[in-house]
């Protein structure tokens, strides 16, 4: 997901406090910034929310790649509004992380020097306009699977950020599917483009949920703390079950010959993605890792004089105001 493979931190604190904390979570109470919380809970959340925020920001790039080439003025406006929303979502999430005692600049620096990760999906290139459809439909569709349950997460600021994000994000997947519909009903070239986009984004979308974690100790701890709401496999299955009929409606073929409806489990059987590719991407060897990080670093470095200039002006103004009083 946007926060893949976040390992939870072990925690060594007063067992009584831990038990009381767990009881609050079990009772459905929200944990707020000034409340006592285990150090492991705090650290795991910083890592997870930070990674989620980074994914939104890096996630601007593959779609931003097509803003200046959108085919109509309306499509350009829609895409721009969507990518802008992603910047907003990054901002809300950084804000939630900041309540845990880390600054946005610290998180940003950890992204830029590679200490923190972002979702593997954004290391894939967007090559045709149909990719704008596929990203909205599949990538946002997969993200929503995870984000909707996270609205109920135990940490108050995170939960509130997710509520706002889910509300805003509801048009994102629909605009993507709308692009796919237009293309699937379009010229032979457009239809081919749509199929090609599905072929390239299907498995990377399945990878977004991360490898199976049903036996993972870290995931179990995170689920107990209600900062992870479902297992990766549950979400992946749900995503496939929802998406396959949508592909059929478009007249497109999911690139998986083993895909079959399984009456007994009431879901599809499907092929696992190539996990070695996933680990390559996570390690930095995806098709676009270098470009994505370079773009973020360039924006940050080129923007330094602007950030410095505006704060310097604000300080001068404040000093002048004080002097006048």
């Amino acid at each position: 997901m946007y926060a893949q493979m976040v390992t939870s931190e072990a925690t060594q604190e007063d067992p009584q406090k831990l038990a009381a904390f767990q009881a609050r979570i079990d009772a459905g109470e929200k944990i707020e910034p000034k409340d006592w919380m285990p150090e492991g809970y705090r650290k795991t959340l910083i890592r997870q929310i930070g990674q989620h925020a980074h994914s939104e920001i890096v996630g601007q790039l593959p779609e931003g790649n097509w803003i200046t080439r959108a085919p109509t003025l309306e499509r350009k406006a829609i895409l721009l509004a969507k990518v802008q929303d992603e910047a907003g979502h990054g901002l809300y999430l950084y804000g939630a992380a900041e309540t845990l005692g880390v600054s946005r600049d610290e998180l940003t620096e950890m992204l830029l020097d590679g200490r923190m990760k972002y979702s593997s999906i954004f290391n894939y290139p967007t090559l045709t306009w149909a990719d704008m459809g596929a990203v909205g439909w599949l990538v946002d569709g997969a993200a929503i699977m995870n984000q909707v349950p996270l609205q109920r997460t135990s940490y108050g600021p995170y939960s509130r950020a997710m509520i706002r994000i889910c509300k805003e994000e509801s048009f994102h997947q629909r605009q993507g599917y709308h692009i796919m519909m237009k293309m699937a009903q379009g010229t032979p070239a457009q239809k081919k483009m749509a199929q090609d986009a599905l072929n390239r984004f299907w498995y990377p979308s399945l990878m977004m949920f991360g490898p199976s974690d049903k036996d993972s100790v870290h995931s179990a701890q995170s689920m107990k703390w209600k900062i992870k709401m479902n297992t990766n496999d549950e979400l992946r299955q749900k995503f496939v079950d929802q998406t396959v009929p949508q592909a059929e409606y478009l007249g497109l073929t999911v690139p998986d010959e083993t895909l079959r409806w399984n009456e007994e489990k009431g879901g599809y059987d499907f092929a696992e993605p190539d996990w070695s590719e996933f680990f390559d991407v996570i390690k930095g060897n995806g098709p676009c890792n270098t470009e994505r990080l370079a773009a973020r670093n360039k924006a940050w470095d080129d923007g330094a004089w602007v950030r410095e200039g505006l704060i310097a002006h604000a300080e001068k103004r404040r000093a002048a105001k004080l002097a006048a009083e």
Partner: protein, 94 residues
């Protein structure tokens, strides 16, 4: 040089005359830019008609450990709620 802009908390009053409500935070060099940034970040969907910003460092918050003494005493003041009083239907709407 450390130049992170201060953090501001943003409060917005919506269309229907309700109180300003906390919507989130953002960074800005000063109050004027914080209001502009709040307009751009938090009212993209026609959410508000009035914005307040306050530097996060200037907010004082109650302590969670005071939760008992601060809020529990009001739980027993049940007579403050209209449902405490049993008024016969014959008396009409009240």
């Amino acid at each position: 040089m450390k130049t992170e802009w201060p953090l501001w908390e943003v409060f917005i009053r919506g269309q229907h005359g309700l109180n300003h409500r906390h919507v989130g935070s953002l960074h800005a060099p000063d109050a004027e830019m914080a209001i502009k940034n709040a307009r751009d970040v938090y009212t993209r969907r026609n959410e508000g008609v009035s914005i307040w910003v306050v530097e996060a460092a200037h907010i004082s918050a109650s302590s969670p450990s005071d939760k008992g003494p601060l809020y529990e005493p009001s739980e027993s003041k049940v007579y403050r709620h209209p449902t405490f009083f049993d008024i016969p239907d014959e008396a009409g709407h009240m």
